[in-house]
Symmetry: C2
């Protein structure tokens, strides 16, 4: 170990494969069995992608973006013994309100799944008279109770931190417009109670580097490390044939995550394989979750591929942190508190 | 009186002029001395418009959008003995942070000015790494202390209610995009402390009627009446030569203002006069404040005209409420709680 460690539980049965001998652009490499979720994975669901998982009761489980065959996305529950082969439920998650009554979003996509203390939170993007963030909590994985929508539209890519900081919940999000949004920075917000949110700060903007020059957005829940919060996010570049989504990496200050300590000027993963370059939205790798093991520093990144598949990549914390630090390039907007 | 009354203080010295004999499109008529603030009203300030005033210590005072001669808008203090002739300060309001240190927005525009309990609040749109809402409080009209920005970008047209409802502050706002925003609905948010905001609800969307079919946005602070909250707002239609801004009227439920009781399908005022049709942005009437008298039901509406002037219009609550009710047309989105 290079002296940087994951702060968190050990997950000895996490999925893993050693780095192959083939050349890699950065510190991540792909699982040889990708994609881990293929086409038509459940009745009436054409594609699953942009989905988030966690260790649950010695196995793995999570929330999956299922694009129904009517074109509307909803959230499906999935379970796996090994984090590689996934059983996706045949029905969407039956979200309820705080009275236990059915309260489904009209559509829901790009879920994240985060455990804070003893509760599991699903967060997604939905219609709130415009695209905005929805969220729900569960402790038994049967009842998912919706919480107040944290923000007014338009917003996407919300990510909850896995623990409170200075007594408050923390959430990353990415203000958007009502369409495909040709801009976008990452903000952070605080909440004492998951009802009211405030103390909003700017974390970081679209980057210098071309691969993240159009917009960025939060990806996996930040991983607590001895160097700070390791954040896998997505960065977007524009081409004559549309957007290209890559995976980027940054390390945020542990006590004040609106301050970026290191930000990698090079992508960590970019579309290369057939399942990333071909699909409903070609050229997308879109990280939504990690499973990681404090004992070994191993990290498995789950990412959506081409809005059609779920992919899996691996890396080791010490190598990822060293790569981010070696290629770090910061702006004033990255290092400031982010209050205007 | 028709049985509808303003709930609030009496302001016997409010500006007033009786309705003229000339034809009027709706229940408002213009002050014959308009515009009440003309061009080059202070050194280095080319135009003042979209500004908000209140009764203060037996006179009138408020916050004015001053477009500097470098093209950057900032907020200026203004005072008046009669609400008609205004003295605009030569320097911008020196906003400070909670330590008393200078903390000016990089730009600030379209201020509102609202008294809640014993404190006066200025709210405006500013750069928060994107257009969003800024706010400050004052009790002595010398020290204006900035509060937390209530929302992440992009947002405009924030309006605070003049009293707490169910123990919380209430704020209207209008989510936007990063440009001229060809869409926009009015939302409402709650805060126990002006730091954290939540329980967001949709109030009403752009309207059926052509004059408000592109977008709408909060205008003057709602007036508490025995029928509900009387809200003057702006509605926008699109033409081949740009947007046209009119003044609309609605009445919101007193205990749950996310519910619209009446919404006038006809504008209350639309650009007609030279100072509304000519200017930096032609064809704009943009309400930001009212002064009103509970004893008589008289209402004076202050509005920005053509992004160049401040105009003043008058009306009587009973006539305005009757007009709104007579021409009310509601949608499901208007009458529902506004939670998805």
């Amino acid at each position: 170990m290079s002296g940087v460690n994951i702060i968190g539980p050990s997950v000895p049965n996490m999925p893993w494969q050693d780095r192959p001998d083939t050349p890699q652009a950065g510190p991540l490499w792909r699982y040889s069995g990708n994609p881990v979720v293929g086409r038509n994975p459940a009745p009436g669901v054409a594609r699953i992608f942009n989905s988030a998982v966690l260790p649950v009761n010695g196995k793995f489980a999570g929330v999956f973006r299922g694009e129904q065959t009517d074109g509307v996305p909803h959230i499906y529950w999935g379970e796996s013994a090994d984090g590689l082969k996934w059983d996706i439920a045949n029905e969407r998650i039956p979200f309820v309100n705080d009275k236990g009554e059915p309260f489904l979003p009209r559509y829901a996509y790009d879920p994240r799944f985060i455990k804070v203390e003893d509760t599991y939170y699903a967060i997604w993007c939905q219609d709130f008279y415009g695209a905005s963030i929805g969220m729900a909590k569960t402790t038994d994985f049967r009842t998912f109770t919706r919480l107040e929508n944290p923000f007014i539209p338009y917003n996407r890519n919300a990510v909850l931190f896995p623990r409170k900081v200075n007594g408050n919940f923390l959430m990353l999000s990415r203000p958007s417009d009502s369409g495909h949004t040709p801009f976008g920075d990452i903000f952070i917000s605080e909440s004492p109670d998951l009802v009211y949110w405030g103390k909003h700060r700017h974390v970081m903007g679209r980057g210098h580097a071309w691969w993240e020059s159009v917009k960025i957005g939060g990806g996996a829940a930040p991983i607590e490390t001895t160097e700070g919060w390791l954040m896998f996010y997505h960065g977007v570049s524009g081409t004559c044939n549309g957007f290209v989504y890559s995976i980027g990496g940054a390390i945020l200050d542990i006590g004040n995550p609106s301050i970026v300590k290191y930000r990698c000027s090079r992508f960590l993963l970019t579309p290369e394989e057939w399942y990333e370059e071909r699909g409903f939205v070609p050229n997308v790798v879109f990280p939504c979750a990690t499973i990681h093991d404090a004992a070994t520093g191993r990290i498995a990144v789950y990412y959506g591929a081409a809005d059609s598949y779920v992919g899996l990549a691996f890396g080791k914390l010490d190598e990822i942190a060293a790569y981010i630090k070696e290629h770090s390039r910061l702006t004033d907007e990255d290092t400031e508190i982010g209050m205007r």
